[in-house]
Amino acid sequence: MGATEFMVSLTQADGGVFFAALGASVAVFLSGMGSALGIGIVGQAAAGLVIEEPEKFGRSLVLQLLPGTQGLYGFVIGLLVLGRLNVGMGALEGLYILAACLPIGFVGWISGIAQGKAAAAGISILARNEEQSTKGIIYAVMVETYALLAFVVSLILLNAVSF
């Protein structure tokens, strides 16, 4: 079976619901993993700070929350896919949805970790020079730009083509 024939057969086959569900899973679990790792990294750094200076807990919590957004972006994409699932979905549509989920899945995963590291470094700004700690937040947010871009693309891809 040649490539063209394969594609044609896909357009006719159903069972796309599996691929679509796989897409939702990928969007949620990859970005969720990134956020979990990122938040974990910051949490470890913050815990060391709070031993000496418990009053900085609030500000350290803000820094810790920053890598959490990737997981939420993935969650939103996952929910949107959920709204489109139906049993008779074509295989091609299912694969398309899977493809649309990849940007936020992968970028969310890696950027969550990277943002976690940047935010953990921000914790040391908070430890030594509290007044400047907002700058640590901004450094960490720079990383998030790319998660946001991936989210936008996933979102547009999801809505751009209707089958």
């Binding site: 939420l72 939103v76 901004i138 947010v141 730009t145 989210f151 547009i156 809505n159």
Partner: protein, 648 residues
């Protein structure tokens, strides 16, 4: 715009008048001293710098004493609960009131009393801890029915008293049972250790010792005279007495907290005094004359001169002139009115403007307001923020800085509200509301709107760059660095628009040539500061390469739409989860309310945090990079930053 004009002054005054002069200037407040130590012109003329002014050490000692007193007393001070404390806030003083109040206070007896009480209390507490420890040590030996002093005074026999690991106990018992002149007892046992007393006589003693050593025996020295159980009783009695003593001290310290505010006032007063004395480090001196240089705001120049005349009579020399534009030492004081004022914190966070730049605060404020609202867009969140900030501002007595911060969010809440209506979102759609946009389907419109905002801001930033260049009479720079970019960017944008919407063929052609023209202009002029033909061409091409940065800038504004959408979707997801359990009986209904409140609160915090920092990013990276550098020094007024009071 709103950088306060400064006047530079040089003042020569007699050393004998120094203290009085500094005191008066501190009352005046708006003086910024220059550190003259680096001024080589003056030092070469034989003027000396003052290293550590006399009295400074004494004031430092006073401050550390007052500080110690405050530290102790604040442990005993019953603070009012959070809300109430914020309502009352810190007391307000003018500088004169502070000085008058401080002069009535003699802090030394207060301090000595507090320190003495505290020292005694700590002594009692140390003794108590020691007794506790001894009790812990004695506890396992409680069943030992012989006075401890007895054990120490054995003449012929050898006594072994100590612990072995529990698991070796059986082996030891077996080994020791063979000896005739040895008596041993396992007095007690806990999770890890068995407590052993063995007494041995004559030749056996050495063997017993060997056996004990094999069982990892660790020797213990018991403290005291009497039987362990009696000893424990005595110690417990002692602890009770000590507790009473500590309580007496605590009571006395608690009573002493009425003096806490006196100490705090003294602390503020002394810190201002210290600042006054330390200010002399900035001066240069001869044997009799002080040379002082610094800045005062031009609008207060007359007041300043009057003050000097009143203090020094006629025996001084003063020279003033307008601060020079390019002087990096000129301190920066921003002055913006009502609405713009709270946004100064953003400018300060990036960097204060240099004296020859413009204050970007009024320029960034409208953009920040729009961006924040677009990213947090929700009527519900807007109302919560508006009410919260309004009530805090109305009923709470806040520090100046906190007040500005709350006001900042007060203004922003209006934008959140308006965008909430535009998006038709109340807590993520819990109440249906027809907005102008339907975020879930109109995201393309929103994306375009975001890019348009970016377009406006970037073009505005470039226009400001041109304005600064023209103001400084660098007309060519304005054309080369802004004009050509306008031409190239506009051409490129129109040309690219052709691909999305149908424009007449002629527009396509014109825009293409306009773009090329602009680009040629950039390549030709971009490297004008480089030397040599290769350098000029290279510099020009590199400037043109900067166009990729503009692509990134425009795309970056898509976050305006993305964050607004993400926040809306998350709020929607929370409502969905709450909805799933809501119709499952009364428990389900309660659970739904809990999910709704927690979820929405979480999303509210996240939305505001996201909107706050991402708006900052757009301002700092995309906007400021076009026209603003910053790097000015902050105007340091001649007052110490108060900690316990509001100083006006």
């Amino acid at each position: 715009m709103a950088i306060v004009k400064m006047t530079e002054f040089s003042l020569f005054a007699f050393d004998s008048e120094k203290e009085n002069l500094l005191h008066e200037l501190q009352k005046f407040e708006y003086v910024h001293f220059l550190d003259l130590e680096q001024d080589e012109d003056l030092t070469e003329m034989g003027l000396r710098s003052v290293k550590v002014p006399e009295n400074l050490v004494a004031v430092d000692e006073d401050i550390s004493r007052v500080n110690a007193g405050i530290d102790i007393l604040s442990k005993y001070h019953h603070k009012e609960s959070g809300l109430k404390a914020m309502r009352t806030g810190l007391s307000n003083y003018t500088f004169e009131e502070l000085e008058e109040k401080a002069s009535e206070i003699d802090y030394m007896p207060i301090y000595q009393n507090v320190r003495e009480l505290w020292r005694k209390r700590e002594g009692f507490k140390g003794e108590k801890d020691k007794s506790r420890l001894t009790i812990e040590e004695l506890k396992p030996w409680k069943t030992l029915d012989i006075p401890i002093s007895y054990l120490e005074n054995l003449q012929e026999a050898v006594l072994y008293i100590g612990t072995i690991p529990v698991n070796l106990q059986e082996m030891l018992v077996e080994n020791l049972s063979g000896y005739e002149n040895t008596h041993y007892e396992v007095v007690g046992e806990d999770k890890d250790n068995a407590y052993i007393v063995a007494i041995s006589y004559g030749d056996e003693a050495e063997n017993v010792k060997e056996n004990l050593r094999n069982a990892s025996f660790a020797k213990v020295v018991l403290k005291g005279e009497n039987k362990p159980s009696e000893e424990i009783e005595i110690l417990e009695e002692k602890i009770k007495l000590l507790d009473d003593e500590i309580e007496v001290m605590d009571k006395a310290l608690e009573e002493a907290t009425i003096n806490l505010s006196d100490l705090e006032i003294t602390y503020e007063y002394l810190n201002n005094k210290k600042l006054r004395i330390a200010a002399a480090e900035n001066f240069l001196v001869t044997d009799q004359v002080n040379v002082i240089k610094g800045f005062v705001p031009t609008e207060r120049k007359d007041e300043f001169e009057e003050k000097l005349k009143a203090t020094l009579g006629n025996i001084y020399y003063l020279q003033t002139n307008d601060a020079r534009k390019e002087d990096r030492n000129t301190p920066i004081l921003l002055d913006n009115s009502g609405f713009v004022k709270p946004f100064e914190s953003l400018t300060e966070m990036y960097a204060l403007p240099r004296y020859d730049e413009i204050d970007p605060t009024p320029l960034l404020a409208p953009f920040y307001l729009i961006f924040f609202g677009m990213m947090a867009a929700d009527v519900g969140y807007g109302v919560i923020m508006l009410l919260g900030t309004f009530l805090v501002l109305k009923y709470f007595n806040l520090k100046e800085k906190t007040k500005a911060f709350i006001k900042f969010f007060y203004y922003l809440s209006f934008s959140v509200l308006i965008w909430g209506f535009l998006y038709g979102s109340i807590f993520g759609g819990i109440i249906p509301l027809k907005g102008v946009f339907e975020p879930a389907t109109d995201y393309n419109t929103l994306l375009i709107l975001s890019i348009i905002f970016g377009f406006i801001q970037i073009y505005y930033g470039l226009a400001l760059k041109a304005y600064i260049a023209i103001r400084d009479k660098k007309y060519k720079d304005a054309l080369y660095d802004v004009g050509f970019w306008y031409i190239a960017l506009t051409g490129a944008i129109v040309y690219l628009l052709n691909m999305v919407i149908d424009l007449p063929e002629i527009a396509k052609t014109i825009s293409f040539y306009v773009m090329i023209g602009g680009m040629v202009g950039i390549v030709v002029t971009g490297g004008r500061e480089a030397t040599g033909a290769v350098g000029k061409v290279g510099g020009g091409l590199y400037s043109l390469y900067g166009i990729t940065g503009y692509v990134g800038d425009f795309v970056s504004y898509s976050r305006l739409m993305a964050l607004g959408l993400a926040g809306g979707f998350i709020a929607g997801a929370v409502n969905m989860m709450a909805g799933m359990v809501a119709d499952k009986g009364p428990i389900g209904f309660v659970a739904a309310i809990v999910i709704f409140i927690f979820g929405q609160t979480f999303n509210l915090g996240l939305s505001f945090l996201g909107a706050y920092v991402h708006s900052i990013r757009l301002i700092f990276v995309e906007f400021f990079s076009k026209f603003y550098e910053g790097g000015g020094q902050k105007f340091k007024d001649f007052r110490s930053k108060p900690k316990y009071i509001n100083l006006r």
